[in-house]
């Protein structure tokens, strides 16, 4: 698998800093602006605004912030003061993508964003890949049935049946699992498979 070119530029990215106002937060805010990010801040006692309003979260790992309750789906960077095992466990438990140590200084901020954004994108792409593989496993049975059906109807061997199905899938530009589902669906009551199977035109 060839790796995608890493993202190095973050202009326009919306960052949220969940940390009380102090020199750490002030300097981080200034530095993020230098990098072209749009920055909002929220004190640790404040309520973080709704999901979807920022693309990157910096949070204070020295406070027991209710991150788990928020169901956030953005890359997160922990602002770490206390580097003790308990706090690092807590940070790991919230899937932080990288760390910045306090007191915040210029060195390390850009690097931590590069890592957080790229790790996060890689995590998403691995999750999507995993979902694709899971659905392949789920529909493996359908492929076997479709091959058997084709062998039966056309009197060919399994290799020829599979090649035929694969060719048809390629011609219709859908996965072989989808094609097999379609082939089998013709024997089934209408709509039976469609409840669970996304059709070609439903795909992104």
């Amino acid at each position: 698998m060839t790796r995608k070119k890493p993202r190095m530029l973050f202009r326009g990215l919306r960052a949220m800093i969940w940390h009380d106002c102090d020199p750490n937060r002030q300097f981080l805010e200034l530095y993020l602006q230098r990098l072209g990010l749009r920055v909002s801040c929220c004190g640790v006692g404040g309520k973080l605004c709704e999901r979807g309003e920022f693309d990157l979260l910096f949070f204070d790992s020295d406070q027991d912030l209710p991150i788990g309750e928020l169901d956030l789906d953005v890359p997160m960077i922990a602002l770490v003061g206390s580097e003790a095992p308990s706090r690092l466990q807590w940070v790991l438990g919230h899937n932080a993508a990288s760390l910045i140590f306090k007191p915040v200084r210029s060195a390390g901020i850009y690097g931590s964003i590069v890592f957080a954004m790229n790790q996060y994108e890689e995590r998403l792409s691995i999750a999507a890949q995993q979902e694709r593989l899971n659905s392949k496993i789920r529909y493996r049975k359908l492929v076997i049935f479709a091959v058997l059906k084709t062998m039966r109807e056309q009197g060919c061997d399994e290799e020829q049946a599979f090649s035929g199905l694969r060719r048809q899938a390629m011609e219709r530009r859908i996965t072989i699992e989808m094609l097999c589902a379609d082939v089998l669906a013709k024997n089934l009551p209408a709509g039976h498979l469609r409840d669970t199977w996304p059709l070609a035109h439903d795909r992104p």
Binding site: L9, F10, R11, F27, L30, Y31, Q33, R34, L35, G36, R105, S106, A107, Y110
Partner: protein, 408 residues
């Protein structure tokens, strides 16, 4: 007020000058030390006895550990809160934690590869959008953009090549090859042979010191000896070749190379002619500064005016004051940007000619915004200043500059 020593009624402020006049790049650092000293002397004269800037020079011999040691001595023993210096990025990175810990301000004179913006550094040297980007644009517009890269294996080369590759490919050109040699390795004949066989129209050179001079000489000999090639068929371009290095290469090998920089000695500007005269009067007729030295001079002059404006040598007050005015430097109008601590500078392209000098072939119409993280490239240099949020509009930095220039 934290002025240091009162001497004959005049507050004396020690200013560190941290370069290496011996070691691998000692030859080019000597003029930076001279220029910084000249700048401090002129700042003292301008201020007419209200305070005295005292140069504290320490030679670092090009060794990283010596930079740390000398910087520490300047801060703790000599009481320096302001230091002019550093030629390589490695040296700057070495002393940066110490500067930040002790809240000391470095006035950084050299061009560098960007991607840094410390509160304890004022960057008077150019960042890539002021040296490499103009060069790339020129290559794409006026040359065949097929480039062979040769360089010393270190950060300046890595970052320059990365950026060059991205910009050239985006512009429809290509990188033919990239060859790196270990820093200090003088064996470059195999690279010259490869260049002669590939015949690239452009060679991008990031070699340093003696390796670079040997490369220019060897390439000239090889091109001259080749039946199908003429000097000029292969143009060597760089962001580092300067006047002081041309005699080390020697004529005619030193002629015809394209350099991007914010200052050339041949710049026709009254401030520059006067500056060169004063420099030669002070240090001898056979001496003259090049880009990084001129920038060290500008550091000293802006430092002097900032201390005068703030009435103290305290770092935060001086840093704030330094961003409130522009300075008519030999290289043009220089102003330090509020947001990035980098400077508005005027990019120029020049070709080396006979007499160890450069002929300027292009210059930007006005000083260019610093963009150390290359955030605003492709936006026609549009960059919001810090006030943009408050105003609710994305004011172009250039307009902001214009307004401030009119006000001052």
């Amino acid at each position: 007020m934290s002025l240091n020593n009162i001497h004959n009624g005049v507050a004396e402020i020690p200013v560190g000058i941290l370069y290496s006049i011996t070691g691998p790049y000692g030859d080019v650092n000597a003029s930076m030390v001279n220029a910084a000293i000249l700048g401090l002397e002129e700042a003292n004269a301008e201020l007419d006895g209200s305070f005295k800037l005292k140069p504290v020079f320490k030679d670092c011999h090009g060794k990283l550990s010596t930079y740390s040691k000398n910087c520490e001595r300047m801060i703790y023993e000599d009481g320096c809160q302001h230091i002019i210096g550093c030629y390589t990025s490695a040296a700057r990175k070495q002393i940066l934690p110490l500067l930040e810990r002790t809240n000391t301000l470095l006035w950084h004179s050299a061009r560098y590869e960007g991607f840094e913006a410390s509160e304890n550094v004022l960057y008077l040297g150019a960042s890539p959008n002021q040296h490499l980007i103009p060069l790339v644009r020129y290559i794409l517009a006026a040359m065949v953009p097929e480039i062979y890269c040769v360089g010393s294996n270190y950060i300046w080369t890595w970052e320059s090549n990365r950026l060059l590759r991205e910009q050239i490919i985006e512009g429809g050109g290509r990188i033919i090859a990239q060859r790196l040699v270990t820093m200090g390795d003088l064996h470059i004949d195999h690279i010259v042979s490869e260049i002669i066989s590939l015949k690239p129209p452009v060679v991008f050179n990031t070699l340093v010191g003696e390796a670079s001079y040997r490369f220019y000489r060897a390439l000239w000999r090889a091109v001259s000896a080749h039946p199908d090639l003429e000097p000029g068929d292969i143009t060597v371009v760089s962001c580092s070749l300067c006047e002081e290095e041309l005699p080390f290469i020697g004529e005619p090998a030193s002629i015809g190379h394209l350099t991007s920089a914010t200052y050339f000695r041949s710049l026709e500007r009254l401030e520059n002619v006067d500056f060169l005269t004063r420099y030669r009067e002070r240090f001898g007729d056979d001496t003259a500064p090049s880009v990084d030295a001129e920038s060290a001079y500008v550091c000293a002059r802006i430092l002097g005016r900032s201390i005068a404006a703030s009435g103290t040598d305290a770092v935060s007050a001086v840093r704030d004051a330094a961003k409130t005015f522009s300075f008519e430097a030999p290289e043009g109008t220089v102003r330090i940007d509020r947001t990035t601590n980098h400077s508005f500078l005027t990019p120029r392209l020049a070709v080396s000619r006979r007499g160890f000098s450069f002929q300027i072939i292009w210059e930007a119409a006005e000083p260019v915004d610093p963009d150390p993280f290359l955030v605003w490239q492709g936006e026609a240099q549009a960059r919001p200043e810090t006030e943009w949020k408050a105003k609710g509009s994305s004011a172009r930095a250039r307009h902001v500059v214009d307004t401030e220039a009119k006000e001052s």
